[in-house]
Amino acid sequence: MILNEVAAGQQIGFPILTVLTFLPFLGAVVIWLFQKDEDLILKSALAVAGLEFFISAVLFWHFTPNSAHIQFAERASWIPAIGIGYHLGVDGISVLFIPLTAFLLVLIMVYSWDAEKTLLKPYLMALLALEGTMIGVFASLDLILFFVFWELMLIPGYFLIKLWGPGADRQYAALKYVLYTLTGSVLMLVGIVLLNLNFHTAAVASHTEPLYSFDLVDLLTVPVPPEQQALIFFLLFFGFAFKAPVFPFHTWLPTALVEGPIVMSVLLAGVKLGTYGFIRFSLPLLPEASRSWMWVMAALGLAAIIYGALIALVQTDFRRLLAFSSISHLGFVMLGLFALNFQGLQGSLLQMINLGFSTAGLFFMVGFLYTRTGSADLAAYGGLAHRVPLLATFVLILGLASIGLPGTNGFVGEFLILVGAFRAHWVLAAVGVLGVILGAAYFLWYYERAFFGPAAASALKPLQDLQPREWGIAVALGVMILWIGLYPAPFLNMINGSVQALADRLEQGSRVQAVRGSEPAATAQRAVR
């Protein structure tokens, strides 16, 4: 598989991905310099997030759709002796995640305006640092660079849960989150090294330079021997599955989402890093192993769909319900990925973005409820449709998107995933649709008990309905949900090219197209900046 590159210099004239990756860090430092005024700190954090979102919109706008090329590429050498390079670039697989992350961060900053009062400065710095590392993860094409961002993410994440979590067990939750991810990433690192070694063996055998590389583009040109693929596949699997999290490695997620602050829940549930890892690295690098383990992976997906939904059905804590619905949704994503065909991949990729609006959006809504009632439990709710009609409306819209009602974004993703699953084997889809039924059951049953019902019993404490800033958040999410649901063309055009290339590779196996640098234009573009 050969990924041609278009350099950032040619495409837009400045290293946009470097800017996107490091602007939040810079912003964090700038905020650090504003010593006193809380208002100013908030405003500048919002400004940084806004600027970041604007630049990511520029990226979105200038991205050439229907192309499998790597775009806005930047290269610089870092540790050439062992093949580690600074290589950034986006293609259809990764491009949507960057505006999504930036979008969520803007909403988070707006949300924090009212919701967070303690230790404001380090809080905002941690959020910006987290944004930088996330964007770095999506922009990196060098596996070590990717790994660095992947690990760095844990630092702000850890502190956000530990210091700003509302739950009593936040310390435990933070540590559990970090340890789980860390355990997985150690194994993943071993897998990455093995990939490098494989590249090295091939380079020595064919007397080509460079001898070592951690670069995805290079690694893709060297097929991994099928007998080694399974080992590497599972090493990477643990890294990604723990992070995603894939059933049955999910137990850190409910803890983190319940104990941690809402903003962290939004990012954990909204930015699907783990499953991104699968589609970015595991599938293209190890197509044979992906195929031979397809049934196991798809079965894990199905198990997660049913298991997560069943548990969500009986929750009384809204955050815990969303945590398990998130696990169920990730099951859909896994199912689509390991259908290993065009629609499955396309649907999964789109669904990862969709969940960034629907599930993450629902976490914002829980946050709004939490600030009003001081609780996320059913016991404190009831008759909310009367008490906070606007909020109830938006919860319903987001919830319907999350259970895949046609007309919302969730449907487009879920439908494509199930089409892909059906084409892989009809049983996969036949079991998968059970999740469609259970999804409606757990969400609507909860909605019935929390939002409907007599207002009299709950009229004890009058609640304020949505305030202007909250309005803004809810409307922004609602617009995205309907946009992708009714007119997904711009998004599909952006991802289709790369999805097609990946689907072809999964179809043909890694040995085809193993010759490197066939197009002179591509090699010419490699020397960027």
Binding site: I84, I155, L189, L310, F422, A489
Partner: protein
């Protein structure tokens, strides 16, 4: 021009939804007056456009596709957001917009002064949009937007009085039960795509012949599962009676005239596939006939005026599926149309009764109302006669056609079920009429005091619907007689059965004999009710006592809800609780267990804590370190060194496991 008008049909109500919806969200910037004008005005505009489109289709009945834009695409899948205009969608368009308009007008009076007046019209218009997408879509997925969209609106409107617990429960139940059907429908869509590589009706039906019998049966059965959910057939009908929690105009529009008939429309639309699957067709017929009889028997003893009508709707929908099952697709649509007239009429006049009695729905507290509300009484009488099948009224023509077709095509058992159901229908509808309007008044004193006829804005739609209930059947007979009427000729290009299943000739007299039988059934049912509730009013109680078991069975609706609760709902919840316990106990327990295992070795914890908290950077450094060290060792290219790397990884892992201890000991 044509395309534009077609697009305008769903667009008008959509604009009204946006306007009224924003008005609700932004805190009622304009009055209820403007809200309802937007509500019914947009539907009227749709009706006018639909009428124009139908007029242009009359001359040129060839199907026309209008593609608005590309919706979901990539790889070999392309789904357009597009509409298909052919005789079938034309008929549905007229019914939906026409009856919809009348019900919207009626609602202005009925919902007057309600708290959520604007919200009501926003939901109703959203329903119109969804229903129009459902009948106009040119492929399965646009149909499915409408399909689930009407389900959503049904949910919202059943739960309109959301502070009533029963309404909230009924809303959830309706949505979830419908989703079971929708899951089947989704599978059908996947099957269609897998077999044809497209989801467009025209392409699919053109290639339908290439289906294997197994595939055709699979698609047909999966589609029918969807229809069973949406159209409230056995065994998924239980949501519809509960749906009566919604305001009465909602029951008339959604749960009688339009949405619940979507399943019938869908089966007829796909008849090219059903024709290839005789087994599936038989299933449709049997389920339809069984539902028709089953629901009719429950209707015999119900005491809530709206619930009687609800069971009668379930039963009439059964007739439509019975028609599909015996291949009488045109008759199914014909009955759909006449049913839309008389059932909307019955619901709306029941609403008028409820309105007059300030909310009372129990027929045991009615009686003798005909003097107080004469117009309502008159139209209700017409509706009852039409549904019972009195000669020359609309229901008589369509029901007779269905039963006749079943008989002449050799489905004697289905005919028998249908005829029995028709008898029950005539009986329970007449019973409803007698208990409500005739005999001694049993009205509460307070309510009797306020008894009043409904305002004109409610009566006008009633009268129009009554007229349609009387003469509506003529579209099926004029000018060519039964099965050669205008209606059937218009539909013929769409619904003609591809494989001939010609009925046997039963002699020229057979149709008239069957007609006579239908008539006798209707009159017989009426007479029995007349006997029970007019001549010998003490008889019903005596019979109820005599047949106590059967009476209890019917009164409790065969305990189906209770059985579902015990066998499905509760077990699923129990399973959920068990999974939850397993998740905290076993899955998470394993993680916690590792931590406990290490509780003894406290010494290393301080070191590890530092290591983790500043871990991100350290790990990065360590990663480089590890990588370079391993690489140096492996420059020989020996694959066996993988083991070394694994060990290194393992060492790290052990460190981390120790950390779990820290969690246990430290926090």
């Amino acid at each position: 021009m044509f395309d534009l008008i077609v697009i305008l049909i769903p667009l008008f109500p959509l604009l009204a939804v946006v306007a009224n919806g924003l008005n609700v969200l932004l805190g009622h910037r304009y009055s209820d007056e403007i809200a309802h004008r937007l509500g019914w005005g947009s539907v009227l505009a749709s009706f006018v456009c639909a009428f124009w489109v139908v007029q242009h289709t009359l001359g040129a009945p060839a199907p026309r596709t209008v593609v608005v834009y590309r919706w979901i695409f990539g790889g070999d899948l392309t789904v357009n957001f597009g509409f298909l205009i052919d005789p079938l969608s034309c008929v549905m368009l007229l019914v939906v917009t026409g009856v919809g308009f009348l019900i919207h007008v009626y609602s202005v009076g009925y919902m007057h002064g309600e708290e959520g007046f604007t919200r009501f019209f926003a939901y109703m218009n959203l329903f119109m949009v969804s229903m129009l997408l459902l009948v106009m879509g040119n492929n399965y997925l646009v149909l499915f937007i409408g399909w689930e969209g009407v389900g959503l609106c049904s949910y919202l409107l059943i739960g309109y009085y959301y502070d009533r617990v029963s309404a909230a429960k009924a809303a959830t139940k309706a949505f979830v039960v419908n989703r079971i059907g929708d899951a089947g429908f989704l599978l059908a869509i996947f099957l269609v795509f897998a077999n044809f590589g497209t989801l467009d009706y025209t392409d699919v039906f053109a290639q339908a012949a290439k289906l294997t019998p197994t595939a055709a049966t699979a698609i047909a059965v999966c589609l029918f599962i969807g229809a069973v959910g949406k159209s409230a057939q056995l065994p998924l009908y239980t949501w519809l009676p509960d749906a009566m929690e919604g305001p009465t105009p909602v029951s008339a529009l959604i749960h009688a005239a339009t949405m619940v008939t979507a399943g019938v429309y869908m089966v007829v639309r796909n008849h090219a596939i059903y024709d290839l699957a005789p087994a599936a067709l038989l299933l449709v017929g049997v389920v339809g006939a069984a539902t028709a009889l089953f629901a009719a028997t429950i209707g015999l003893v119900q005491t809530d005026i709206k619930r009687v009508l609800a069971y009668s709707t379930v039963s009439q929908l059964g007739f439509m599926f019975l028609a599909c099952g015996v291949g009488a697709y045109a008759a199914a649509i014909f009955h759909l149309v006449t049913h839309a007239f008389f059932k909307a009429l019955l619901f709306l006049s029941a609403g008028s009764v409820i309105h007059a009695l300030a909310g009372e729905q129990d027929i045991r507290k009615m009686g003798g109302l005909w003097k107080a509300i004469p117009v309502t009484h008159g139209v209700f009488l017409i509706g009852t006669a039409a549904i019972a099948g009195f000669p020359f009224l609309s229901g008589w023509w369509s029901k007779d056609e269905i039963l006749g077709h079943a008989f002449t095509h050799g489905h004697y058992f289905l005919w028998f079920l249908g005829a029995t159901a028709a008898f029950c229908t005539a009986f329970y509808m007449s019973r409803l009429l007698y208990l409500t309007f005739y005999g001694e008044s049993r009205v509460d004193h307070d309510a009797a005091h306020h008894l009043h006829e409904s305002p004109r804005v409610m009566l006008a739609p009633l009268i129009l619907l009554a007229v349609l209930s009387v003469i509506g059947g003529l579209i099926g007979v004029i000018p060519g007689g039964l099965e050669n009427g205008w209606f059937h000729q218009f539909l013929r290009p769409v619904v003609s059965v591809s494989k001939g299943t010609a009925g046997h000739e039963g002699g020229p007299l057979l149709p008239y004999i069957l007609m006579a039988v239908t008539t006798v059934i209707a009159v017989g049912g009426w007479f029995l009710a007349h006997y029970f509730y007019q001549l010998k009013p003490d008889q019903p109680d005596r019979w109820a006592a005599k047949l106590r078991g059967a009476y209890a069975l019917l009164l409790n609706k065969y305990w189906v809800d209770e059985v579902y609760d015990k066998t499905v709902v509760e077990p699923v919840k129990r399973l959920g609780r068990r999974c939850d316990a397993v998740d905290t106990g076993v899955v998470d327990g394993a993680v916690v267990g590792v931590r406990r295992l290490n509780e003894a070795s406290a010494a290393a914890s301080t070191w590890v804590e530092k290591y983790v908290i500043y871990g991100g950077l350290n790990v990065t450094g360590f990663a480089n370190h590890l990588a370079s060290r391993v690489l140096r060792r492996l420059q020989t290219g020996l694959v066996h060194h993988y083991a070394t790397i694994l060990v290194a990884g393992f060492v790290l892992l052990v460190n981390l496991i120790v950390l779990f201890f820290w969690v246990g000991g430290g926090s």
